[in-house]
Symmetry: none
Subunit: 197 residues, 4 copies
Amino acid sequence: MKRSIRQIQKDETREKLLSAAHIVFGQKGIMAARMSDIAEAAGVSHGTVFVHFKTQETLVAAVIDDFGIRMGQRTHDMARNSGSLRDVLKAHLEGIREDEAFYTQLVIETRSLPPIARETMISIQSAVSFHINQAAQREMDAGVIKPMSMALLFNTWIGLVHYYLTNRDLFSPEKSVIETCGSMLIDHFMHMISSAN
Amino acid sequence: MKRSIRQIQKDETREKLLSAAHIVFGQKGIMAARMSDIAEAAGVSHGTVFVHFKTQETLVAAVIDDFGIRMGQRTHDMARNSGSLRDVLKAHLEGIREDEAFYTQLVIETRSLPPIARETMISIQSAVSFHINQAAQREMDAGVIKPMSMALLFNTWIGLVHYYLTNRDLFSPEKSVIETCGSMLIDHFMHMISSAN
Amino acid sequence: MKRSIRQIQKDETREKLLSAAHIVFGQKGIMAARMSDIAEAAGVSHGTVFVHFKTQETLVAAVIDDFGIRMGQRTHDMARNSGSLRDVLKAHLEGIREDEAFYTQLVIETRSLPPIARETMISIQSAVSFHINQAAQREMDAGVIKPMSMALLFNTWIGLVHYYLTNRDLFSPEKSVIETCGSMLIDHFMHMISSAN
Amino acid sequence: MKRSIRQIQKDETREKLLSAAHIVFGQKGIMAARMSDIAEAAGVSHGTVFVHFKTQETLVAAVIDDFGIRMGQRTHDMARNSGSLRDVLKAHLEGIREDEAFYTQLVIETRSLPPIARETMISIQSAVSFHINQAAQREMDAGVIKPMSMALLFNTWIGLVHYYLTNRDLFSPEKSVIETCGSMLIDHFMHMISSAN
DNA sequence: GATGAATGAGGCTTCATTCAT
DNA sequence: GATGAATGAAGCCTCATTCAT
């Protein structure tokens, strides 16, 4: 069927665009990237972007949505492979590391992005939070970590991670912050919430 | 003196502009605010902005610098009035609260702003960090708080605060995050780092 | 080939713009012409100009360069068709006449234009001067014209021509100065430098 | 009388402005000079310029008029001190030399200036032409110079002089063209029109 | 469907001119 | 009269979006 060949090609182009946008957004920032930058990065013409995404906002939303699904999947995988809180945190960072640049931009720009961005961010955090809380609760019940509000425990972790991500220039100008500081952050966080001294 | 009447008026306009910019930046974002928004907010004509600030970047730099000085002053005051770490954290949040919206935008946008922004941010954090570390060290030596890296202690605090600030919509959509969550954050943080359970 | 249809159309627009700019520059002056004047004269939108010429300076440079090439070609043709100095002068004026308005503006504004303008002007004059000198030298050697510095002979001729061009309002307000005064100028110049009385 | 003290001061300021404008116009070009440049050069405030000259055009006109009067005076003096054509040409160049920069700008910009500029230019040239023609006629009658149209003789001279003035960068980048090339120009011109070889 | 030239709204900046002091 | 801050019209340039090919 001709139809389906075309369809396949179209889908391929769409994927190229989403992937290119993901990279460019991670490099230049989401709102700072121009539509033509993305076209160029995807190796297609400027106009083609608009064939697939009616407006800039649509493209941004699609990239974010895509990313949300990927993160959701990773978080889901996280569940089965992790037992201890430490494992969960490790898996969490690992999940971020795979999209570090884009994730960081998303953290930074959420507020000035279309609502979908905020919603995606929240849904990602909710899923992550669910797993972290579960593991934390278990260890808290076991008396390994201090009793404290789950929400605050989670927000402290997220805040710490985001702080390092968004200040990469201070902590790891050359390469991935997660790679450079990840295990240190986990150690520190575990130490802080641990009931031992 | 004629001189000084005119000078005073000019200074007033400059102040009006800085103050309007400070507000508008806090509302719309620093780079998203247009020069004409600021003119309008200050109640002067578009051209007047350029009488006082040759370029947009100059204005941004001036507002940030202004803010940096104000924060520096507050941090300095913090020193004499605070003994315990809890006091210092309280003073820190109090200092932020007075410029909450702008501070939050600065946290968000630092990376896409002229270098002065980053430098100001760093210098503010350095000063704050100095006082926090001093108090924390004392209490750590006294065995009241767990032994841990000063840098990580500070970054955890800053990360936590910034996380709440930059997610105001989640934590306090109506009013100041600091007002709403400040003492909770301090309590939580103190509890976390405390050597007691 | 699709390629070439689009390419041809783009080139046509570029030509329309260059040609419109050439005319508008001749009428209003090179720096006095606004980008929007040229867009209007070319029958395209304001933004289109910037698709083809990134900045005003680029456009000016392109128009001048274009003109330089055209003049160079004419000067080259001049060579083969002219024997006597009189012929060369005639050809020179003829070459100018085809772009009289623009050439005149260029003469007037060279100093306030980007360096390319000056360079183009100089290169045009050099080529012309070469041919004039050659013919003049021959006739000087033959004793037909007075012995004199070639440079001064050339500068006198150019000065005379430019003076008439730049004072068209005095000499030929209605139409081309070259048409109106050209042969008179040649006669006069030849008479002046002739060794006969 | 208070009145007349004020009047004197006002006149002084006006003179300062005219003089400053004359210099600045000579340096930056007449239309390229900003009103504030002139205020600064005159050592008065920006607003003061408008107290004396309602519009930019008025100022330009006044400076040109002033210059015209000065040139007229010099031309008049030229009359009594000069006998031969060579003397007149020398006096002519001398008159220009005293205002070389401004005169050159005027030559270049006349067309884009208010009509007064053109009229002044014409009136200056008329006066000069009168004296040159008179002397030339005498020598032509005496058979010293070739018979030729007075207008063309004059225009050749003016064209030559203007060509050197407006191409100072080629002929005398460092200092006055008249000083550097003046006598050469006179010699050449006299040689050209002389009936001798 | 892909292309990329054309479009035009929107933003920054300059500078002659005005006017309150 | 002198001052200089304020004004706003006008010009350059960017970039998301449209549309003919």
